[in-house]
Subunit: 147 residues, 4 copies
């Protein structure tokens, strides 16, 4: 698996091109001594948005996990464009960006008041309880094709 | 279980009264927008010190876990005395402070260059893979009595 | 400053005795290899609830910070009663539990579906931009007396 | 700034091609309910290794910060190849991979017992206390040319 070489351009800056939006509010604990959100914490926002996206399409991640399937993170890419601050209301826009037999990619745009703060992409593989790759479920492949 | 009501006094300020010391260096990610280490991250230092203490007495936590026993955290108390900053070399002094049939307490002193920054206590219970309380191993009870 | 010696009993199990409730949903990143929320992360929930409480009473923490006042955490105590799991909807109940000239205490009850998962208390001091203690604002003292 | 399109290949799997190695031990708190290190926490290891690298070449990050310069993270890319577990001793190999007038890139290889677990790249910009981009110091440009 390899994130698309032009991933960051494909994660464009137009929120209307994303399928789903989830809002988080920045915790004080997520800031660092530069007074802004630490770069690692963006990945927590992306993950929370993925979980809410799956819930919104009727495929809650908890059900997948109790069925023995996990979504391992294979790759991540984040481009930080402008800082986030404590108490900001942050919108995570996302869309399913493509699949292979065993992997899928999600693209993200992070905004505050409509202004871009970051773009990102993550690649995931479906794995079973032993950590072995398994085929993506049909609904996920079809969803990517429809999107 | 209940941490001793005078726990913070028992976690005295004299490093020589503690059985074990472990040093950590503050990560930038552990600071917050006040420019100091976020209070929740002290618990990570205490945990890392517990793990190193168990290793130092020949009872590595990974072995306990592969034998099906975990040490659930039942209570924690931290008194923050002076801030920690990025890149500080922090000494975590600890001692086993008491046991019951199923629980044990650890007291901590946190210093930088010998100067106290925090005192703390944690209470733990031995649990099996299903999360049920189990008896403490004999060596742990004996260690507490010896200490 | 010293948390009340019977703090954990005062943080009772009846949600109706708390002034404010804030709901968070457990992130996957907040779990650990025991399959439950790591004990340090409860402090993040308490902090988020404090911030929302201050907003709800018209005293947003961001305003205090831009006025040069911070609320340093002086002490924390948490009693873990039952684990939290990924995707749980967690209610953080809190109340202002007392003040001195420069410090205040908050008590918490953490529940899921009304069932208690943890009780906690935190003690805070008002500090200025140089980290020096300052008097609590009048409104905070009056609020504690009224509560 | 844009991470090199073939960054993940340039972050090759041969540890001897990296300039510096820093070892960390996985904390229990860094694992998640899959029983492995959560993907966001790799960024903390990379950051800790960068800080130790700067110290090793006589340019401690704390000095830069007290001189009013920070290294903002502009981009990050991580490819996760095999999981990390609690208590693993993890080697972070890194090298300075290139500079522009205001930015530099670092490539990483993450191994356990010599076996690759992840490759990564981060891009950074020098900024002043107001968050404005400033020129890289000469020593950093020369170091990149020498490397």
């Amino acid at each position: 698996v390899r994130l698309d070489d032009h991933g960051s351009q494909r994660s464009g800056l137009d929120p209307t091109t994303y399928a789903f939006t989830h809002r988080v509010r920045v915790r004080f604990a997520e800031t660092d001594a530069m007074g802004i959100v630490h770069h690692a914490n963006y990945l927590l926002y992306l993950e929370e948005a993925r979980v809410e996206y799956l819930r919104s399409i009727g495929r809650p991640y908890t059900e997948m996990r109790s069925d023995g399937t996990d979504h391992a993170v294979l790759e991540c890419f984040v481009q930080y464009r402008a800082p986030l601050h404590f108490d900001d209301q942050v919108d995570i826009h996302l869309r399913l960006a493509g699949t292979t037999r065993a992997t899928f990619q999600i693209d993200y745009l992070v905004t505050v008041d409509g202004s871009p703060r970051a773009t990102a992409s993550t690649a995931h593989g479906a794995i079973n309880a032993k950590g072995r790759p398994v085929r993506l479920p049909t609904w996920l492949v079809e969803l990517a094709q429809a999107g």
